[in-house]
Amino acid sequence: MSLLHFFADPQWIIPNIIAPFIFTAVALVLFRNVSGSVALYAVLGGGMMGMWGNTLYGSGFALAFDRWNGTIEYVLATPSRLVWIIAGRSASNAVLGLVNALAILAVVMIGYGPLLAVADPILFLVALILTLASLSTLGVVLCSAFLLSRSASVMTNGLEFPIYVASGSMFPIALLPFWSHPLSLSLGPTWGIDAMRYAADSTYKGLGFGYWIDVSVVMISTIVYLAIGFWLFIVAEKKVRDDATLVEY
């Protein structure tokens, strides 16, 4: 349903294709004289922007949309657990984001030539799928707050770039201030992006733990996010039923 609604509004092209593409193109222009795997950062960064943006808006906005639309009570009144409904929406939006990422890659390849050669496509694909799962479950965790909050759109806007920057999508987290590193390392997508870079570039050093440690952390973080999300949704659902705040908007 969230995808049907998403495509029913032609404006989806702006945040999901045009904005990430412009971001990728700007990064490629900025880094054109820097040696190393610049294209890797630019393309993965643009792709990550599409995936995270989709997940965040998909889970956050979909719930806010249900609130505005008056459908949230009907959805909550079904026997399906809200956490699974949101997990499904997050996952479908993350997959949509993946399609965006591939579109960006294709456009970049056409515009700038074959910049990106993936050393191990299978491992790259595994890391990509795990990163998608990690993003989806992170979306579920954040979405529990959207259930309680009347200002999901403000929170959605506020959370887009911090996660994008903190996960090291566009540039290495080593460039970020030291105090921000614990936050970066606590994010599953940080490790997923690092794993993708290991798989794409055999000379990549990254966080320094290697591909398999990275994917293990992504998997563990996904399970942890899901468990936290599940618990938070139970708490949040009980709270909105106790406080009668479900239909406030």
Binding site: A8, N69, E73, Y74, L76, A77, T78, P79, S80, R241
Partner: protein, 325 residues
């Protein structure tokens, strides 16, 4: 739970308070008691009505029984399941139909709305589309099923609401003001559908503002006022509350508030209600004096242009007004 429970709904001493706040910086908390310890039962196959003025506690009661709100105290069982403990079991077995424009996904078709909710209710895929087609037929939306909901009229949206509320084939249906805002024909169609559901032995709990609707549809009615059940009886039983009075109905133009106040001050008058339709006002005066009181009425309303004045038998609305005033 084993076997069928005795009652479809059992409500006992149900209470619900809301906490609100005033001010922005120095917030002052305020407790509002919306439902004040109500008790009632609903039989299987019964169409039970809850009527009452705005803010009386009808919607709060429905939301508690449909597990959307928790009660502050008291308890209730729906189809034998406890509303606090057995939330999923209750949700699986009930249908919810609220009135109003909201509650549908506008940018997709009516059929897609029904499919989505069928999936959320876990309707098996093998049965889903057949059931949806049957429901669309029942509510007369088959021809427009694949059009976007945003193109539907208000009446069509309400019919889709009804189909949505039945998508899981519920044993018990909660309807909160299902005819609100509908034109007379659409409201009549909706009432016909509600009657069909009763014929199919569904149990229905209905709230409405329209007394003639409650009179036409409900087996029993609970009049809820100020969070409490003021009376609970069959429609004819409730009318007995006003058997000692007659109603003088006046159709006029130019009746002012002070005229209504003057009527209310008369010791012979039990209650006065006023309704404005276009430029024509209808005033209903409950009095034990009957037609003997008409000369006093015409005297009090001498400043207005009276088109018609007559005595009538009291209706359910008169009983309701007596109970909630």
């Amino acid at each position: 739970m084993t076997g069928r429970p005795e009652k479809a709904i059992t409500v006992s001493e149900l209470r619900r308070t809301y906490q609100t706040s005033k001010g922005i910086f120095r917030k002052k908390k305020e407790i509002v008691e919306a439902v004040k310890g109500i008790s009632f039962d609903v039989e299987f196959g019964e169409l039970f009505g809850l009527v009452g003025p705005n803010g009386a506690g009808k919607t709060t009661t429905i939301k508690i029984l449909t597990t959307l709100l928790t009660p502050t105290s008291g308890n209730a069982r729906v189809l034998g399941f406890d509303i606090a403990r057995d939330v999923v079991e209750i949700r699986r077995r009930i249908g919810i139909i609220f009135g109003g424009e909201r509650g549908l996904y506008y940018r997709v078709s009516g059929r897609e709305n029904l499919r989505y909710f069928a999936d959320l209710y876990g309707v098996p895929l093998a049965k889903r589309d057949k059931r949806i087609n049957e429901l669309l037929d029942m509510v007369g939306l088959s021809e427009r099923a694949d059009s976007k909901v945003e193109s539907y009229s208000r009446g069509m949206k309400q019919r889709l609401h009804i189909a949505k509320g039945l998508v899981n084939d519920p044993e018990l249906i909660f309807m909160d003001e299902p005819t609100i805002g509908l034109d007379p024909q659409a409201a009549r169609d909706t009432r016909a559908m509600i009657k069909q559901l009763v014929e199919k032995e569904k149990t229905i709990l209905l709230t409405t503002h329209y007394m003639f609707e409650a009179d036409e549809l409900c087996h029993r009615i609970g009049v809820i006022s100020n969070g409490e059940i003021a009376a609970l009886d069959t429609p004819s039983g409730l009318k007995r509350f006003v058997k000692d009075i007659s109603v003088i109905e006046v159709e006029a133009f130019g009746i002012v508030d002070s005229d209504i106040a003057s009527l209310r001050q008369r010791p012979e008058v039990k209650s006065v209600s006023s309704n404005l339709e276009g430029e024509r006002q209808t005033v209903r005066i409950q009095t034990p004096k009957g037609s003997e009181f008409i000369p006093q009425v015409t005297k009090i309303l001498s400043g207005a242009k009276i088109f018609d004045i007559r005595t009538k038998e009291p209706t359910l609305e008169d009983a309701y007004l007596r109970l909630v005033s």
